[in-house]
C-alpha cells in the first residue's frame, strides 16, 4: 500500500511544470519598472527580451499640451496567451522612473485607462509589429526629455520571464506659441462610456475661432459639427473603441489634436453587497449550527438499540410490586399471630410464614 502511495505521489510530482509568476499578467496600473515585472520569479528564471522597441513622437511637442505617442513592439515570440506588458518610463534605473516624475501625464493609455503600465494581448511574433497609441500631456516646462518603453512577457516554451527596455528616446518640448489654437491645459478627454448611450463632449479651447471634430469609423472618417463647443458621438451598440480628434483653427497655425479614444464597455458587474454580506453571515451561522447539532455517529447507532428507559421502567414496576408483596405478606388462614400488629406483620410476616412452613410452630 505504501509503495503504491509513494508511486502515485511520485507521478504527480513528475507531472508538474515550471511556470513563471503572473503568467496571466498583473493588470494595468501605474507601475515602476521594478514592480512591473514578475515579482515572484527567481533570477534563474529571468531572461532578456529580444523585442525591438520604439517610441515615435509627433514633430512638434508643446509644453503642457496633449500629444499622441506611438509605441511599437516587434520581433518577439511570447507565451501562448500572447500577452505583453508595456511600460512607459523616464529612465532605466528601476527607481523614480514614472513619467509623472518628469511632468508627463498619461491621458489615455492603449487600453483606455490612465496607466503607464498596460497589458496588451495581440499577435506578437518575430514577424509582426504591434503598435499602440498613448495620449500624453507634455511636461509644462520646455526642454529635452527622455522616454523609455519597457516590456515583460513569457516565452513560447514557458518557464522564463523575459524583460526588456528600449534605448532612450529624446523629445524636445517647446514653449507654446502665443496665438496657437489649442485645447485648454485643464481640459481632459472622456475615456470610457457605457453601451447604448450617446456621448456629448464639451471642448475647452484657447485662441480658437472654429473647431471641427473628425470621428474615425473603421477606415472612414466622419466629420461632426461642433456647436457651442459641444459635439455628440453616436451611441455604441457593442463594446469597442472609437477614435476622434479635433481640428482647431484661429489666427495661429491650424492644429490637429491627437486621436482620442473612447472605450465603450458593458456595464460593470454589480451586486447588492448588503445581500451578499448578509447571506455570507447566514451561511456561516447555518453551517456552524448544523455541524454542532450533529450527534456522533456511534451515538446514533446506539440510539436504535437503546432500551434503557424500557428496562428502568420494567425494573421499577417489578420492584414496586415485589416491595408491595414484601410489605404485606399473605395472611395465613389462622390470621396473624396473636399480639402482632399489621405493621409488625409487614416486616416480620415472611419469617413467620417460613417457620410455619418448616413446622416449627
Amino acid at each position: 500500500m505504501r509503495v503504491k502511495i509513494v508511486f502515485v505521489l511520485g507521478i504527480l510530482l513528475l507531472s508538474t511544470t515550471v511556470s513563471t509568476a503572473n503568467p496571466g499578467g498583473k493588470g494595468d496600473d501605474v507601475r515602476s519598472r521594478d514592480c512591473a515585472g514578475s515579482c515572484h520569479a527567481s533570477s534563474s528564471s529571468n531572461g532578456v527580451s529580444t523585442a525591438t522597441l520604439d517610441i515615435k513622437f509627433p514633430n512638434e511637442v508643446y509644453a503642457g499640451l496633449l500629444i499622441e505617442v506611438q509605441t511599437s513592439v516587434e520581433s518577439v515570440d511570447v507565451s501562448s496567451n500572447n500577452l505583453v506588458g508595456m511600460t512607459l518610463l523616464i529612465n532605466s534605473d528601476g527607481a523614480k522612473d514614472l513619467p509623472a516624475n518628469d511632468g508627463w501625464e498619461v491621458i489615455t493609455d492603449p487600453n483606455g485607462g490612465t496607466n503607464n503600465y498596460v497589458e496588451i494581448s495581440d499577435s506578437f511574433s518575430s514577424f509582426n509589429i504591434v503598435n499602440r497609441s498613448w495620449t500624453l500631456r507634455a511636461p509644462s516646462n520646455p526642454g529635452n526629455y527622455e522616454l523609455y518603453l519597457a516590456v515583460q512577457h513569457g516565452t513560447p516554451e514557458g518557464g522564463v520571464a523575459m524583460s526588456g527596455i528600449s534605448d532612450s528616446k529624446s523629445v524636445l518640448v517647446e514653449e507654446v506659441p502665443e496665438n496657437l489654437p489649442r485645447l485648454s491645459p485643464d481640459w481632459e478627454p472622456t475615456n470610457t462610456r457605457g453601451l447604448g448611450e450617446e456621448t456629448t463632449i464639451t471642448l475647452d479651447t484657447l485662441n480658437t475661432e472654429s473647431a471641427t471634430v473628425e470621428l474615425m469609423n473603421g477606415a472612414e472618417v466622419i466629420v461632426i459639427p461642433v456647436v457651442d463647443d459641444q459635439f455628440t458621438i453616436p451611441a455604441a451598440v457593442n463594446p469597442g473603441v472609437v477614435q476622434w480628434r479635433v481640428i482647431l483653427e484661429g489666427e495661429g497655425p491650424t492644429q490637429y489634436s491627437p486621436w482620442f479614444r473612447i472605450t465603450a464597455q458593458a456595464p460593470a458587474w454589480d451586486v447588492d453587497e448588503t445581500a451578499l454580506y448578509v447571506q455570507s453571515i447566514a451561511l456561516f451561522l447555518l453551517c456552524a449550527g448544523l455541524v454542532i447539532m450533529q450527534r456522533p455517529k456511534n451515538e446514533d447507532d446506539m440510539k436504535d438499540y437503546d432500551n434503557t428507559n424500557h428496562v428502568i421502567s420494567t425494573v421499577d414496576t417489578s420492584h414496586d410490586s415485589d416491595s408491595t408483596n414484601a410489605q404485606t405478606p399473605p395472611i395465613p388462614a389462622g390470621g396473624i399471630p396473636e399480639g402482632w400488629t399489621m405493621e409488625q406483620w409487614e416486616y416480620y410476616g415472611h419469617e413467620h410464614l417460613e417457620k410455619l412452613a418448616r413446622g416449627e410452630f
Binding site: 503572473n22 503568467p23 496571466g24 499578467g25 498583473k26 493588470g27 496600473d29 496567451n81 460593470a268 458587474w269 454589480d270 451586486v271 447588492d272 453587497e273 448588503t274 445581500a275 451578499l276 454580506y277 448578509v278 447571506q279 455570507s280 453571515i281 447566514a282 451561511l283 456561516f284 451561522l285 447555518l286 453551517c287 456552524a288 449550527g289 448544523l290 455541524v291 454542532i292 447539532m293 450533529q294 456522533p296 455517529k297 456511534n298
Partner: protein, 169 residues
C-alpha cells in the same frame, strides 16, 4: 508601507497552509491511519487557519482592483469562504463539546478544508486567469433575496441555541 496585496498573500498562505495541514490530518482520521496526534493536529491547524481567514478576506477585498466586490468570482469567494469558516467553527465547537472524531466529523472537517481550497483556487483564477478548478463559477452568483438570508440567520441562531441547550443538559 506594505500594500494590501502583500498582506493578502501572507494571510492567504497562512490560511491555506494551515487548512491544507488540517485536511491531511482529517483524512488520516477518516481512514483511521497514522499517528495518534492526527486528531489534535487536525483541530489545531483548523483553528489556526480559521484565525487567519478574516484577515485573508478583508485584505483580499482591499487588494482587488476597483471598488468593492465588482466581480462574480469575488462574490463566490466570499460565500465559499464563509461557508467553509462556518463548517470549521462547527467542527471545532463540536469537538470542544466532547464529540468523538468519527467518520462524519472527519468528513465535515475535510469538506471545510475543501471549500477553503476551492476559494483559494478561485483567487488564482481572479488574479492570474489560471486555475486547476475548471468548474468554478465565473459569471454566476447564487444570491438569496435579503429576506431569505435573514430567515437563514434566524434559523442558524435557533439551531445554535438549541444545540447549546442540549449540550448543557
Amino acid at each position: 508601507m506594505i500594500s494590501s496585496g502583500t498582506i493578502h498573500v501572507i494571510s492567504t498562505e497562512l490560511t491555506i497552509g494551515m487548512f491544507a495541514l488540517s485536511g491531511v490530518a482529517f483524512l488520516l482520521c477518516l481512514i483511521q491511519k497514522g499517528p495518534e496526534s492526527r486528531e489534535a493536529v487536525a483541530h489545531w491547524a483548523l483553528l489556526g487557519g480559521l484565525i487567519a481567514t478574516p484577515l485573508a478576506i478583508l485584505s483580499g477585498i482591499n487588494a482587488s482592483p476597483g471598488d468593492g466586490i465588482d466581480n462574480p468570482l469575488l462574490a463566490n469567494k466570499m460565500l465559499l469562504s464563509m461557508t467553509s469558516a462556518g463548517l470549521a467553527v462547527g467542527v471545532l465547537v463540536r469537538r470542544k463539546l466532547g464529540s468523538s472524531v468519527d467518520t462524519r466529523h472527519a468528513g465535515i472537517g475535510m469538506a471545510a478544508v475543501g471549500l477553503m481550497l476551492t476559494t483559494a483556487g478561485m483567487g488564482g483564477e481572479f488574479s492570474r486567469g489560471e486555475t486547476l478548478l475548471f468548474f468554478v463559477p465565473k459569471e454566476t452568483v447564487m444570491l438569496f433575496p435579503l429576506w431569505a438570508s435573514v430567515v437563514l440567520i434566524l434559523l442558524g441562531i435557533t439551531i445554535l441555541t438549541k444545540s447549546a441547550i442540549e449540550h448543557r443538559s
